[in-house]
Symmetry: C2
Subunit: 218 residues, 2 copies
């Protein structure tokens, strides 16, 4: 109970900085996505497949959040896009303040989309607004079809669900229909994609949607 | 940075209660394990296989920690063991205080082993002592072989690593030797088991070790 009280205080400050980040994104016409999942669900692989496919159509920047290491930033930097690594040194989620610092080191002019890859954690990142337009939650089929019910805040606060590693379903006790129905029970407005970064299944659908959302109207 | 400061204050209180829990376990001769992992790595399945195999040899109690739902407690209760469910209501880890409350509702007399199944999260639970004798970290092969390097605190603070879902390795880009060497780089003292709750591979080894550790000497 003490922790909940303390988090509330932190969240007030966080939300104020998140509002400033959001204003900055709007001024630059940038669609900012907060990409969240458990560890190893495939967030970085989704980013890589997205950069491969949309690199010529959209200007995409990436902010990588990790507890330790810059492995993910190194993977993403191979695609010649602007990337900033945030190392939280044990912190279990990104905060708006850390993203604000990252933004101060990135040239935002001309960017269409900013992908903020959060720390691998299905719990805490659900509560921290970074100023994004929407949260995209990646769930691996290997985690089991009950996860939307067990971590409901994340699915409630997300706009998009990417069900990843669908190529592994034949080997798993995971029912895709049950997984989707559990997710939509928590949040009927979720946009759902089914992907495999190994076979590339569903990547075109996801990228088509992102291209449509991320293209400037002005 | 603000979060780290705040966590320190919480941790002082937590560690004091953890010490009281530890004293209680020692008084009752109970081996307490703090079972940690990402969501869906198979903690509850490991508990189920353990209860199946050791139910006649050891008196085992279970404390289930979840953000929402009592699905895991329901699964475990089928094995006719004492089980208490803690629902953290959005909290991303168990704290010593919550375990203290659970212990007050459980008859500890005659118990050999208490398995405390933490919330699915590779980050925060690493920092919260519950009074356990040791942390057991479960890592699924599907999460990738780089995870010990990316979430080092958990592997540094654990005594045992259970590498689960080894039956899926043929379908994954996960090298078991690399995974183990990454884990042992972070913590050379880790006791490592390789298991599959689908094929039961390695379950006998893990249970043999637990039986040896959990059997009373007095």
């Amino acid at each position: 109970m003490s922790i909940i009280t303390i988090q509330r205080k932190v969240l007030e400050k966080n939300d104020e900085i998140a509002r400033r980040n959001r204003t900055l994104f709007e001024q630059h016409g940038i669609l900012a996505l907060n990409l969240v999942s458990s560890p190893g669900a495939g967030k970085t692989s989704i980013v890589e497949r997205t950069l491969e496919r949309l690199g010529n159509d959209l200007h995409i920047g990436v902010v990588e959040g990790d507890v330790q290491t810059d492995f993910d930033a190194q993977r993403v930097a191979r695609y010649q896009v602007p990337v900033i690594q945030i190392v939280t040194n044990g912190g279990c989620h990104l905060e708006a303040r850390l993203v604000q610092e990252a933004l101060s080191q990135m040239d935002l002019r001309g960017l269409d989309v900013l992908i903020i890859e959060n720390v691998g954690n299905l719990v805490c990142p659900a509560n921290y607004d970074l100023g994004e337009a929407m949260k995209v939650v990646v769930l691996s089929t290997t985690e089991g079809d009950d996860k939307p019910l067990k971590y409901p805040n994340m699915f409630r606060n997300a706009s998009v669900l990417v069900i990843n590693k669908i190529d592994l379903i034949p080997y798993l006790d995971c029912n895709l229909a049950t997984l989707k129905s559990n997710a939509l029970r928590i949040n009927p407005h979720l946009e759902v994609f089914e992907t495999s970064c190994t076979t590339n299944a569903g990547i075109a659908d996801w990228c088509g949607w992102l291209k449509e959302k991320g293209t400037r109207r002005s």
